[in-house]
Symmetry: C2
Subunit: 344 residues, 2 copies
Amino acid sequence: MKTSLTVAVVGATGAVGQEFLSLFTARQVPVGELRLLASSRSAGKRVAFEGREVEIGLLSAESFRGVDVAFFSAGATRSREFVPAAVEAGAVVIDNSSAFRMEPDVPLVVPEVNGRLVCAETRLIAVPNCTAIILTMAVAPLRSLGHIERLIVSTYQSASGGGAAMMELLKDQTAAVVGGRGYASLDLEPLTEPYAFNLFSHNTPIGNDGYNEEEQKVIAETRKILGQPNLRMSVTCVRVPVLRAHTESVIVEFSGPAPSEDDIRYVLEKSDGIELVDDRENNSFPTPLKATGKDDVLAGRIRHDAGNDHAICMLIAGDQLRKGAALNAVQIAEHAFGLRQKSV
Amino acid sequence: MKTSLTVAVVGATGAVGQEFLSLFTARQVPVGELRLLASSRSAGKRVAFEGREVEIGLLSAESFRGVDVAFFSAGATRSREFVPAAVEAGAVVIDNSSAFRMEPDVPLVVPEVNGRLVCAETRLIAVPNCTAIILTMAVAPLRSLGHIERLIVSTYQSASGGGAAMMELLKDQTAAVVGGRGYASLDLEPLTEPYAFNLFSHNTPIGNDGYNEEEQKVIAETRKILGQPNLRMSVTCVRVPVLRAHTESVIVEFSGPAPSEDDIRYVLEKSDGIELVDDRENNSFPTPLKATGKDDVLAGRIRHDAGNDHAICMLIAGDQLRKGAALNAVQIAEHAFGLRQKSV
């Protein structure tokens, strides 16, 4: 095991990139040299990290010489262009974009679920879509209680899924509306619907089958992470006026009668990375605000499905920037470099 | 047919009550005498209506003498106490509360769905829960395409469901947060979770089966309205930081293969009280903001369920204060008094 790693971060000024830096410190990742990389728009800026000031360098194919681990979080186009160079340079590449997720030879990893796929030889690992990460975290442990046949999911996704700019957009629009300005005066770009006190079907293009790209990702990636290519999935993705952390209303259908509520709670409570928030008396359940800044995915409102005795319902919430992105990526690095004793 | 009606409104100062007054004008309800009734807290206040000033009278068992139609929208306790007196006085009583909805001899009416239950002799008619109204409006027409076996619903419910006070609470909390105040400084009462930029499982008490009262109502009332006591229903009710209009993610499972998307669209487009908003190219679908102030329930994102070839998915949105409450009640009155030629 190396005592210090040369770490590259592509997209360090974005919402996820900022989380990387705070997680390196919080999780005591042994960062030796830190190379922050960006396009010419951000190159030259300086970012504080553990008492040092790190200047952002210009991203190029030459940027990865000597790098042990490279985190990419600058979108699929950037990843497609520069990930091959980073792999060639010998780095372990952990890519947060969708560019390589569905490549058959690229493991798509949620460490608590399928961390076993990361081995010493693995050079490129894809971090799944945030909604799929949060979903599989809560669903995978339930497979110990029976065969899961179908998942039915409606999402309540936050602005952070669209990056720091969309969080600002939501704040700015909301400030304008509570300040008395009418909706007609709002600047909607790059969205097409007002966001203040509003919600809308996820703003990704719709395919011929009527599913938007976010839903397509959640379906394909969840099947790949769980290793169940035929898992039946009904998914509706909606963006809600919440700043950070995604919530999901989930029905899990088993091939036989549903496990007991107590068994579900027991299994989730024992699972790494899950916090049970299921207090009926005080009406306290997962919310995006409770999940914000937390590493764990919150699960609760566990109950039998009144409409199907093979199914259970639950509400889950997870920080989109943490477990939904940066934390999951850092955990993968910890796996790859044997930095933690525990499986996560 | 009477040329002018003596109309009583119990709860005229609430969010729904205010909608009644504007609908009387908009729909040319022939209001002769208007009796606005409230508890001693609001009695004596004056409210403008069609150029007159109407003083709010003190609600009592004697308030209904000579009243043709009485609209109740002041909660179940008030309805339980005063509806019998209004019925006894000979008024047609249209009750927006949950007090009598599940009484076997009280029709629970969404005019477009089961308006036939209102006849000349009917004295008490219950207005369903807002979420159930919006749901049955979009689901009932689809029964012409096949037998519906199960509904799976996750809701995105607005503050207006909690009345004018909850809308103010959401606005005040949000103004505080965008103004830089921390969540710790917020006044949460009567909620237990912060509401600004947050969402939470519906704030009604939870039964032993894990379902909250809102979900119980939606299940029982939808079955009663549709006349399908054994309809299988999976319902999760969530409150989102939206001021007005509820949105619902709905899966409709048929007993046979699902109808075509085109047939679904055709049937919904032809249905009274439904507006199809289903533009994939421009990513334009129902949103609560589009539904606000509208009479119609919006339906869109019509697509086959990728997880079940007997099912279709859709997103629906309806104004909770309009079709979800006041409009539905006024439409019932129009039925009872033959005020409109069209079925609604």
